[in-house]
């Protein structure tokens, strides 16, 4: 039994400090947002949310998020496999690369895209327009949400003893069959959890898509960019309502994450 059921005085002090801190930091803001959006009642909220440009922005957000998730999942599994099962010099470097999208500022990401594909960029006249367009936004969304599937799958893959795969080979299974029948089921949870995190990140992306998309209303405006524009237009209700919608989606994602989370937290 890890937990001490009987808490001493000091234990309660520590617990109190943590609860206070976490409460102020995490919970209070959520309460505030909900209050803010419904300040003038439900009706304005509904109106704001069902405005055409709002809905359009949501549609674009989902499109980008899901596409990025698909790409990052397929390639993420491959990268995880290579990083875990293969040996080659400089592997640690590639492993470190995976962490970078996590810390590189989204603004810089968007900016790089401009440098590469903008009007005066290095690759100006490509058949597909990448600057101020949805494909460009897709690329940056893939970038920022890249690490999650890989980081969730790698540890699971690593803990999966290779003997199981070898047993399958000795029984005549092809590499693909081995992967789909033996490996995949084992890493499935890691993948799902990684996909959830990827979606969350992609849904919330702002800086990069704002820069490369150019925030063109009706064409390259995601939900987050919509919020930003709404704030600039002093359309507070519009902004807060969309924030609530995204927030609710986030909470939904959080609930799913909690269900799926690997139980490494010592319970």
């Amino acid at each position: 039994m890890r937990e001490k059921p009987v808490n001493t005085f000091w234990a309660w002090v520590l617990i109190g400090i943590v609860l206070l801190y976490a409460g102020l930091l995490l919970i209070a803001p959520i309460v505030a947002v909900i209050g803010g959006a419904f300040e003038k009642g439900i009706q304005p909220f509904i109106e704001a949310i069902t405005a055409p440009d709002a809905l359009l922005s949501l549609r674009l957000t989902f499109l980008l998020a899901i596409s990025a998730a698909v790409i990052n999942t397929v390639l993420g599994i491959i990268v995880s496999w290579v990083l875990v099962r293969h040996q080659f010099p400089g592997k640690w470097f590639f492993n470190a690369l995976v962490d970078l999208p996590f810390v590189v500022s989204p603004v810089i990401v968007g900016y790089v895209m401009i440098v590469l594909f903008g009007r005066t960029g290095w690759f100006q006249n490509l058949p597909i327009q990448l600057a101020f367009s949805v494909p460009g936004m897709l690329i940056v969304t893939v970038f920022v949400s890249l690490p999650f599937v890989i980081r969730e799958v790698m540890p699971v893959l690593a803990s999966l003893r290779q003997e199981q795969e070898e047993a399958a080979y000795t029984l005549g299974a092809s590499p693909w069959t081995t992967f789909s029948r033996i490996v995949f089921p084992a890493i499935r949870h890691g993948i799902i959890y990684g996909v959830i995190l990827t979606l969350a990140r992609a849904l919330g992306e702002f800086g990069a898509v704002a820069v490369i998309g150019g925030a063109i209303e009706g064409a390259t405006e995601t939900a987050t960019v919509y919020i930003y524009r709404a704030l600039l237009d002093r359309n507070n209700i519009g902004a807060y309502s969309m924030a609530i919608v995204l927030g609710l989606i986030a909470v939904g994602i959080l609930v799913i994450m909690n269900r799926l989370r690997p139980n490494e937290r010592g319970h």
Binding site: L25, F94, V107, I108, Y111, F143
Partner: protein, 282 residues
């Protein structure tokens, strides 16, 4: 996130995949290079395009320097607070049972799920000029939260909270409780036990989580843009500065500050990964 260090010596014992092995390897590495390494390289080239002199001139402009400094010191303050509170939170979650524990544990990942822009809005609603809280703080203590560094630090604390916790928790969970109990039987108080028996073991995880939250905070944009008021020289962080320069078309300025910001993030991140690699292969 960075606790997924490479597994030691996972031997490539797959004679069955001569094509598959290289095909996989190439596609994986290409993906990584295209998506990550290239952008890094590009930014550096662009930043140095006008030559080193121009580079220095651009990023030593007062507004640029001020923005960089703001980013760095707010991220640093946040990291220190975060290491302490994050470790404390992880400790409390692992060791004690108390009302609200389940709720707390499930909320820890909230900052991962919420779009940063929404975070900014939440903070504005909570501490904005029109609220009682900020009015009180302003009048009584002369502290302004929003549109000032405290607001930035607050937003960064929100974002970084799960990073230290998730880094420390698994290590704490694996720590043998009996070691702590052994210390008790030898007469060590709770605090002494923590300092001599627990802390040395979790310290690397604390540091990793803290540095990760630092690097993450350096590049933060979405929440800061809302919360900081974007006043040049006063409450404008590097990321926000870069955004402004891009919008205004000043590529030179945007590039040079980007390069510096990126450099700091990279050094921190790769440094931690490098140290970690040595630890796991030891």
């Amino acid at each position: 996130m960075m606790q997924a260090a490479l597994p030691a010596k996972a031997a490539a014992r797959n004679p069955h995949l001569p094509f598959g092995k290289w095909g996989l390897r190439v596609s994986a590495l290409t993906y990584l290079i295209m998506m990550i390494a290239i952008p890094i390289i590009v930014i550096n080239i662009e930043g140095l395009r006008g030559g080193l002199d121009q580079f220095f001139a651009d990023f030593t402009r007062p507004a640029a320097l001020s923005a960089l400094w703001l980013s760095i010191w707010t991220a640093a303050v946040m990291a220190v607070i975060n290491i302490i509170m994050g470790t404390l939170t992880a400790y409390v979650l692992i060791h004690y049972r108390f009302p609200g524990k389940r709720l707390l544990d499930s909320m820890i990942d909230l900052p991962f799920a919420i779009p940063t822009l929404v975070t900014g809005i939440m903070l504005v609603l909570l501490y904005g000029p029109q609220t009682a809280v900020s009015g009180f703080l302003d009048r009584q203590l002369g502290i302004r939260i929003l549109f000032a560094p405290p607001g930035i630090i607050l937003a960064l604390l929100f974002l970084g909270y799960p990073l230290v916790i998730r880094s420390v928790q698994p290590v704490l969970a694996r720590l043998d409780t009996n070691q702590e109990e052994a210390a008790y039987t030898l007469g060590a108080s709770g605090w002494l036990t923590f300092r001599r028996v627990v802390l040395p073991v979790i310290f690397p995880a604390m540091l990793t989580g803290g540095l990760l939250s630092f690097a993450r905070a350096l590049g933060e944009f979405g929440s800061i843009v809302i919360v900081s008021g974007n006043i040049p020289m006063r409450s404008q962080t590097a990321a926000v500065y870069i955004f402004g320069q891009v919008e205004a078309g000043n590529m030179g300025a945007a590039s040079s500050v980007s390069v510096v910001l990126l450099l700091v993030s990279l050094v921190v991140t790769l440094g931690v990964d490098f140290a970690y690699r040595r630890k796991t292969y030891a």
